[in-house]
């Protein structure tokens, strides 16, 4: 894990609440919303506190007594997924990404004792954000439409 890897939430774009161990996230610009379940809520809590994958892994290891290397893969995989969805901003892309490193074939699902995080994306609200700009303006000028 690269030490320069840092994550933060852009609160202008993303709002979130945790309830019943599940994080509900809404991306206000894309119109997508998400459920983060399983171990994801704990990772989400910790990434806000530590701002880095390394910090999240370290504290999870302490909390759960989990030293399995796959825990780091699980955390990094989720944070990367969250970044791809625009739910986290990556302030310094991880070295591994620049080098094209891939996640090991072995599934992180059973990583130690830590429950597998599950991120579910919902796209059924995107219609509200569809934009139809007004390009045709009458000779008299905007706001008269043709």
């Amino acid at each position: 894990m690269a030490s320069a890897e840092a994550f933060r939430i852009d609160s202008r774009k993303v709002v979130h609440e945790t309830i019943d161990g599940e994080v509900i996230l809404i991306h206000l610009e894309t119109g997508n919303y998400y459920s983060l379940d399983g171990g994801g809520a704990e990772i989400w809590e910790l990434v806000q506190r530590h701002g880095s994958a390394g910090g999240v892994v370290e504290e999870l290891g302490r909390r759960h007594g989990d030293t399995d290397r796959r825990l780091a893969v699980t955390v990094r995989g989720l944070l990367h997924e969250l970044a791809v969805e625009g739910l986290l901003e990556v302030e310094d892309p991880p070295v591994e990404d620049r080098n094209g490193e891939t996640v090991p074939d072995e599934s992180p699902d059973g990583a130690g004792t830590f429950p597998r995080p599950v991120l579910t994306r919902y796209t059924d609200m995107q219609d509200f954000l569809l934009v139809d700009p007004i390009h045709e303006v009458a000779d008299s000028g905007w706001p008269d439409r043709k």
């Binding site: 609440e17 509900i24 919303y33 459920s35 609200m125 509200f128 569809l130 007004i134």
Partner: protein, 378 residues
């Protein structure tokens, strides 16, 4: 309902107590800006329009702890924009918490000042790029209207090219962005949900369009329960979570009337069948059943099912929040970020149920009444 006030011809807003007070002194947050400049132009045009239309017609709305004063330039927009909120009409003293000037060009002969933005600046939900940090602006591409609101002075302006341009959905649920801004406060937000109640205690009906909110709300109203709305209500979680009615209308998809026989024969002129939905004036059909407020005892998530009996089953608070929050926040312009916390607080403190709507929905009012009763007892 209080008799509407019709002001004397002239610059009628000056006849209202609110307008007699001097405008708020400029503060750090109310310095002239591009948005405020255009807002001032629209307000000045409204005054011209009111003069030309024989004065302004003033209507007060009482919504929970808020009073919103509407100044119409002439009578042309009163019916299209006030009918759905007429049950909120209020008399009484006290300054309004917000006031809004409403006018159109066709009936008043006053042209709207040229927009300072370009068509390409219109972004999602009608928000205008480059505006919104001070004065909020929404352009409605669907009918060419403009809504502006200054949160510092708490004044708003609504302009539309002409009364005939106000579409069915705006007449059914008018001024939604304006009301969302004028009524918002910490712990108080518009939410995309209906609400029905009995004896002051009720349930929120949450779900995206087509989920069955209107069907459930109308079935309940037809069976004698109180009706607060089918699509949008004001939710306050400041103390006891409470839903406040906004619109005394309901919108049903064509064919939906067959499921709610209690209103099927009473649509009258409401049965406009304009475009996609029927607009029902619930306040006129059931004048005693449209109520202003109810404590929220449970959250109900209707779902249309193609088979099976109609039944309610408990769901998690997270599922309720996932159903209620995204559509509430993503449909309204300039999303109020703190509304998610309010909705989370609501669902964390009371039960949530999925309501599977099978082919036979006759037991819906009984199920809802049972859920209300269970919430009251809890």
């Amino acid at each position: 309902m209080a008799r509407p006030q019709v002001a004397e011809p002239g610059i009628a807003p000056a006849s209202s107590p609110a307008a007699r007070r001097p405008p708020p002194a400029p503060t750090e947050s109310s310095r002239p800006t591009r948005g405020r400049g255009y807002f001032a132009e629209l307000e000045a045009a409204f005054l011209d329009a009111a003069r030309g239309a024989g004065g302004s017609f003033v209507r007060d709305l009482s919504i929970g702890p808020c009073r919103v004063r509407l100044h119409f330039a002439g009578p042309a927009l009163v019916d299209p924009l006030f009918r759905a909120v007429a049950h909120l009409g209020a008399a009484g003293d006290g300054p309004p918490s917000a006031s809004v000037c409403l006018w159109d060009s066709a009936s008043t002969g006053v042209r709207v000042p040229p927009f300072p933005w370009a068509g390409e600046d219109i972004v999602a939900r009608g928000e205008v790029r480059g505006y919104g940090d001070d004065v909020r602006v929404v352009y409605e591409p669907g009918f060419g209207g403009v809504t502006m609101f200054d949160p510092v002075s708490r004044r708003g302006v609504f302009w539309v090219p002409g009364p005939e341009r106000v579409p069915w959905y705006e007449r059914a649920a008018p001024l939604r962005p304006l009301l969302s801004w004028a009524l918002a406060a910490p712990g108080r937000h518009l939410v995309h949900a209906g609400a029905v109640a009995r004896d002051g205690a009720g349930v929120l009906l949450a779900g995206k369009g087509g989920s069955g909110k209107s069907t459930v709300a109308l079935l309940c109203a037809g069976a004698g329960l109180d009706y607060l709305g089918d699509d949008y209500v004001l939710l306050s979680t400041e103390q006891t979570p409470t839903a406040f009615s906004l619109y005394g209308t309901a919108k049903l998809a064509p064919g939906g009337l067959t499921r709610v026989p209690a209103v099927a024969g009473a649509t009258g002129e409401d049965r406009g069948s304009e475009e996609e939905k029927l607009v029902l004036d619930v306040g006129r059909r059931f004048p005693d059943r449209v109520k202003g407020a109810a404590a929220v005892k449970a959250v109900v998530l209707p779902r249309v099912a193609t088979e099976g009996r109609t039944r309610a089953s408990r769901v998690s608070a997270a599922e309720a929040l996932r159903t209620l929050a995204p559509s509430s926040m993503l449909q309204l312009p300039y999303a109020q970020r703190d509304s998610l916390a309010s909705m989370a607080a609501l669902v964390a403190g009371r039960p949530a149920y999925a309501l599977e709507l099978g082919p036979d929905v006759s037991n819906v009012p009984g199920l809802i009444a049972d859920l209300i009763e269970a919430g009251v007892r809890a």
